[in-house]
């Protein structure tokens, strides 16, 4: 087909192919190479496309029967035995030696189909694919900090999030043969229980906590009296005051109350 001169300039723009055509075209190149190795010099376009379609359907049929064999054995990944059974299924029409006694002998791997494939590999010369294939380069992973939180993060977790908390190894509980353990003894539950016990101990005494809340100061409407009010609440664990401040605050409320009472007495007189 001769394109008019005006259109030749736009030849550099690549036409987008539908996704189904891309793999089909690559398969067509491979199939034409196989036909050439067998002895054909030319072919009709429709015949080549038909043979390519048959090859793609053969590949898909191999995959489907391999998957069904592996799923029937409650596996998700296909192995050599599944593939061998799948090739057997597809070769039964043409026939192969030993097809009638396939499952009499216990070893599936003795099959003549696999022997035929090894003979084919030994006898035929390699026909490398016509076009150069770009292999995907392995992504260089950036240095991830080796912390327990980062060890088992999947790709679904964004990297800018902080690491997962370290749950701690549960060495105290006895481990069963298969690694089973009671849910109550699992580390996630035990970790929470320890915190609860500490809170209860501290709440019972009523005064001193490991961490105290910061001092709160406020004025009451224009009276001029300063109220110093330190709240000790049993739920607070996140205060950041130092211990020296806490001791100073302990003394202050006593003094302020006395000052207040002294003030009241003076006014009455």
């Amino acid at each position: 087909m001769n394109k008019p001169k005006s259109r030749r300039k736009s030849n550099t723009q690549q036409e987008t192919t539908p996704p189904g055509d891309f793999s089909f075209n690559i398969t067509k190149v491979a199939v034409s190479q196989i036909c050439k190795s067998v002895g054909f010099r030319r072919s009709q376009v429709s015949a080549l496309e038909t043979l390519t379609l048959v090859a793609t359907k053969y590949l898909e049929a191999l995959g489907k029967s391999a998957v069904s064999f592996s799923n029937a054995a409650s596996r998700s990944q296909s192995n050599l035995l599944d593939l061998t059974n799948a090739i057997h299924d597809l070769s039964l029409r043409a026939g192969f030696t030993g097809a009638s006694t396939l499952y009499d002998s216990n070893c599936l791997l003795k099959s003549t189909v696999l022997e035929g494939l090894s003979c084919f590999v030994r006898s035929t010369d390699e026909i490398p694919f016509a076009k150069p294939i770009e292999r995907a380069k392995e992504r260089e992973r950036e240095g991830v900090k080796a912390s327990p939180g980062n060890l088992q993060r999947g790709a679904h977790v964004p990297e800018w999030l902080p690491g997962f908390p370290h749950m701690g190894s549960n060495e105290k509980s006895k481990k069963r043969v298969n690694g089973e353990e009671l849910w109550e003894n699992s580390s996630s539950v035990l970790g929470c229980q320890i915190d609860v016990l500490e809170d209860k101990r501290n709440g019972g005494n009523g005064c001193k906590l490991a961490k105290k809340r910061t001092r709160v100061k406020f004025r009451i409407n224009g009276v001029g009296k300063r109220m110093h009010w330190n709240r000790y609440s049993a739920n607070n664990e996140f205060t950041q005051t130092k211990d020296e401040d806490a001791e100073a605050e302990n003394k202050n409320p006593v003094k302020s109350k006395e000052a207040q009472t002294l003030v009241f007495k003076r006014r009455k007189r």
């Binding site: 793999s23 690559i26 398969t27 491979a30 190479q33 196989i34 036909c35 190795s37 067998v38 002895g39 054909f40 010099r41 030319r42 072919s43 009709q44 429709s46 015949a47 080549l48 038909t50 043979l51 048959v54 090859a55 793609t56 053969y58 590949l59 898909e60 049929a61 191999l62 995959g63 489907k64 391999a66 998957v67 998700s76 990944q77 296909s78 192995n79 050599l80 593939l83 090739i87 597809l90 029409r93 043409a94 216990n106 070893c107 599936l108 791997l109 003795k110 696999l114 035929g116 494939l117 090894s118 084919f120 590999v121 030994r122 035929t124 390699e126 026909i127 490398p128 694919f129 294939i133």
Partner: protein
Amino acid sequence: MNHNPQSGDGKHDDDTALSDFLASLMEYTPTIPDELVEHYLAKSGVQCPDVRLIRLVAVATQKFVAEVASDALQHCKARQASVIKDKRDKQQKDKRLILTMEDLSKSLREYGVNVKHQEYFADSPSTGIDPASRDE
């Protein structure tokens, strides 16, 4: 799988032969690229991280296509052998081995694939009919 103690040695030989075959697969490069085979297998739902099994599938497909093509070649040669008249014609026709739909459909029929190819297409049902008999 039951293990027969008597055939243990035989099975060991088979295992070594099979492992040798799988090792040789890694050296042999099939015509169909690994990535293409992986694409079609993934389309069917196969999860297989082992490269040797993917090469096994590629080799099996290559063998299948080669068998179909060689059967078609034999049909083509058989048809030419019946038509040969002079020596000159024979040499010319050897170079003109063309894969046609006719040979392909004959060879695919043995493998269970029924391919029927229309010989020609017409514009309308009344094409080619004598114009005098056409109803207008």
